[in-house]
């Protein structure tokens, strides 16, 4: 019967398709095993950052063609961290990962990382003395260097010079104060099209403990009672409280930053990129993307000064998981990436403030012809730089503090309430640590 044959044929057809799909799906990545070794390098960041690392990988391939480096790119920072955790849980992390000093503690504490100090000591290409001590210190765990820092970035003020000039303002001076900062922000917050709603804000920033910290330090306060052995958050000291109030007032009292609705409608960074924001607080991370800006002139200025100068360290480092099967090849890459040549390549893309002193003070980083022309501010702040505490549960503390700060910032709670709640919620996370980060 015609129907019968057709059904049979159809079934066979199905089976063949299934088989074909299974075979093609089950075949693992047809990676031609030409190279002697293959390592994977996992990074995050947007397109411009990715291009920077691709350049680095290419240069390394030319130096050492027998090592094949696969770049794994996970764009979102939080997705990157998730992938990292899952990979570690599965025992299949990339051979080289970049971890921030605020987040590497759990890995170090559980012995999941291969200490790179000994590798560095034996290296002919680079040595510990070549790096800024301020970059090395946070990644030293119990006296051993765990990861090689790629940068010593910090929080700065990106400003739209075109808007400054249009508002009749001079460029920020190196020693400008909180008041100067506020006045500039106020001058730059305007309703440009006369519809009664502010379209241009003077300042934009993420609302987090990480952003508020330098201001707390500048005012003489601190985040915790003892940075080396923290037992509680100290946001309720008068000095810290004053700094937080000043920060919150930028939105609640002076309205120089977008409110909750405006920020949700369009992010501050997006406004800055489109020339509708006077100043934006960020670390060096944003530079590769900002270099694509063509519609206005921009530069960087140091953070304004309070009662004292202080900056905040932003740093991430190359780490090798202990379970990696290609540690020697991975180290070869890391060594190259942190040699003068490697760091010059990344520095030229604008992504980092090089952790190698020689490269940081060279035209590769300081060239005034590449934006930001005023890159020197990143180096000037190094002596005044402080870091957040390195502890396993710092992520939890930062996250909940950010939620509380946001409440105060968007006017849903008073500063005192937010501080009290933050301290109370953070307390359980200050359980006595298994081990503390050591200094050299």
């Amino acid at each position: 019967m015609a129907t019968e044959r057709w059904t049979m044929r159809r079934t066979m057809h199905y089976c063949l398709m299934v088989a074909a799909v299974c075979i093609s799906a089950c075949a693992p990545a047809a990676m031609p095993a030409v190279s002697a070794e293959a390592i994977s390098f996992m990074i995050s960041g947007d397109a411009a950052e990715k291009a920077a690392y691709a350049q680095l990988v290419d240069a390394f391939r030319q130096r050492q063609p027998q090592i094949a480096v696969t770049l794994i790119h996970v764009p979102g920072q939080s997705d990157y961290r998730k992938r990292l955790g899952v990979d570690f849980a599965a025992g299949t992390p990339a051979d080289i990962v970049l971890i921030n000093y605020r987040r590497y503690a759990p890995f170090a504490a559980k012995g999941a990382l291969e200490p790179l100090g000994p590798y560095l000591a034996q290296s002919n290409l680079i040595s510990e003395q070549d790096f800024y001590a301020e970059a090395i210190a946070p990644f030293t765990w119990n006296g051993v260097l765990m990861c090689i820092p790629q940068n010593i970035s910090s929080l700065v003020v990106y400003y739209n010079r075109t808007l400054f000039q249009a508002a009749g303002l001079n460029d920020p001076q190196p020693d400008w104060t909180w008041n100067d900062f506020l006045r500039a922000a106020q001058a730059l917050t305007r309703d440009t099209d006369g519809d009664g709603r502010v379209d241009q804000y003077g300042l934009g920033t993420e609302v987090s403990l990480f952003r508020v910290a330098p201001f707390i330090w500048q005012n003489g306060g601190d985040l915790v009672d003892d940075p080396l052995a923290p037992t509680r958050l100290t946001l309720d000291t008068p000095a810290a409280r004053e700094a937080i109030q000043w920060f919150v007032d930028l939105q609640v009292k002076h309205h120089v930053t977008p409110g909750a609705v405006a920020e949700a409608a369009e992010s501050s960074e997006s406004r800055f990129l489109n020339g509708r924001l006077g100043m934006f607080l960020n670390s060096r991370r944003g530079v590769p993307t900002y270099r694509t800006i063509t519609s206005f002139d921009w530069d960087v200025a140091p953070l304004p000064q309070g009662n004292s100068r202080a900056g905040i360290l932003h740093s991430d480092a190359y780490c090798i998981p202990r379970v990696s099967a290609n540690k020697a090849a991975a180290w070869a890459f890391i060594e190259f990436a942190n040699s003068a040549e490697g760091q010059r390549i990344i520095a030229s893309t604008g992504r980092t403030v090089p952790s190698l002193r020689a490269v940081a003070e060279s035209p590769a980083f300081l060239d005034p012809g590449r934006k930001p022309a005023n890159s020197r501010v990143f180096l000037d702040v190094i002596p005044f730089m402080r870091g957040v505490p390195v502890m396993e549960t710092w992520v939890d503390i930062e996250d909940l503090a950010a939620e509380e700060l946001e409440r105060a910032y968007y006017g849903q709670a008073s500063v005192d309430e937010a501080i009290a709640t933050a301290i109370e919620r953070a307390q359980p996370f200050f359980a006595p640590p298994a081990s503390t980060p050591g200094t050299q």
């Binding site: 759990p106 949700a264 409440r407 849903q412």
Partner: protein, 293 residues
Amino acid sequence: MKYHTRYNLSLYVLLAPFLSGIVILVLIPAALSLALAFTSYDGLSAPGWRGLQNFRQIIDDDLFRRAVANSLVFLALTVPLRTVVTLGLALLLHRSRRGIGLYRAAVYIPTVIPGVAYALIWLWILNPIYGPLNLLLNATGLPAITWLVNPHTALPAIALTALFQLGEGFVVLLAGLQHIPDEYYDSAALDGAGQLALFRHITLPLVMPWLLLVIMRDLIASAQNTFTPALIMTGGGPYYATLFLPLFIYQTAFDRFRFGEGAALTTFLFLGVAALIAVTYRLLGGWGYDDSV
């Protein structure tokens, strides 16, 4: 007899791929998950036994309570609304007539929109300044609502987005309504029964088993489907207003790498859903479910 058993055996063989798949992909991982719930496990070192500690800690956690409350409120909002709307739409569109295909398709299409895309679409629509919904409200003189930004309206906003993906329940209720023989309606109408009476005495009882199926399925789905919208649209904010239990589990396990606690939370979720189903079953008087469904 021999053929009979051989036939049954071959049926089980046909069943084998599905059953083995369930065992390997669902039952074993679920058992693993249950086991993990009694440990502390961060993926970096071996799991450490903690007995009931995880559960005790979770019950004391404010965020957990918030997540449970949010999930319950969400269920209370969406399940009744969705059921009523779906029933209404099915009643409206169950008789074949000209153009019925287009109308039914319009109801179903939002359901086939992939979760990520759907969440992004609504993220745009609910944009407080530029989103079409607020623009529309403004244009008609109504006050604009800040939707996802306001802690009080964020959860209802996400509930709103859940009201448009009714496809599966819609199809089931259509089938249920179409199973009611016309003769019942005809003879009741001859007796002079009005529309409302027809509904109450014929439609509702006869469609009840299907309705129960839809409600039950909705309970299960709504308890879990908040994940993608909350992740993409609000991240659990503002200030935990949209922190639902599935998102909380995800954050605990995959952001904080507390897989043991995450597993314990999941156990709570499963038990909670099971309890809800049992309660609904009781309240609505049993399945009324028969095999002719």
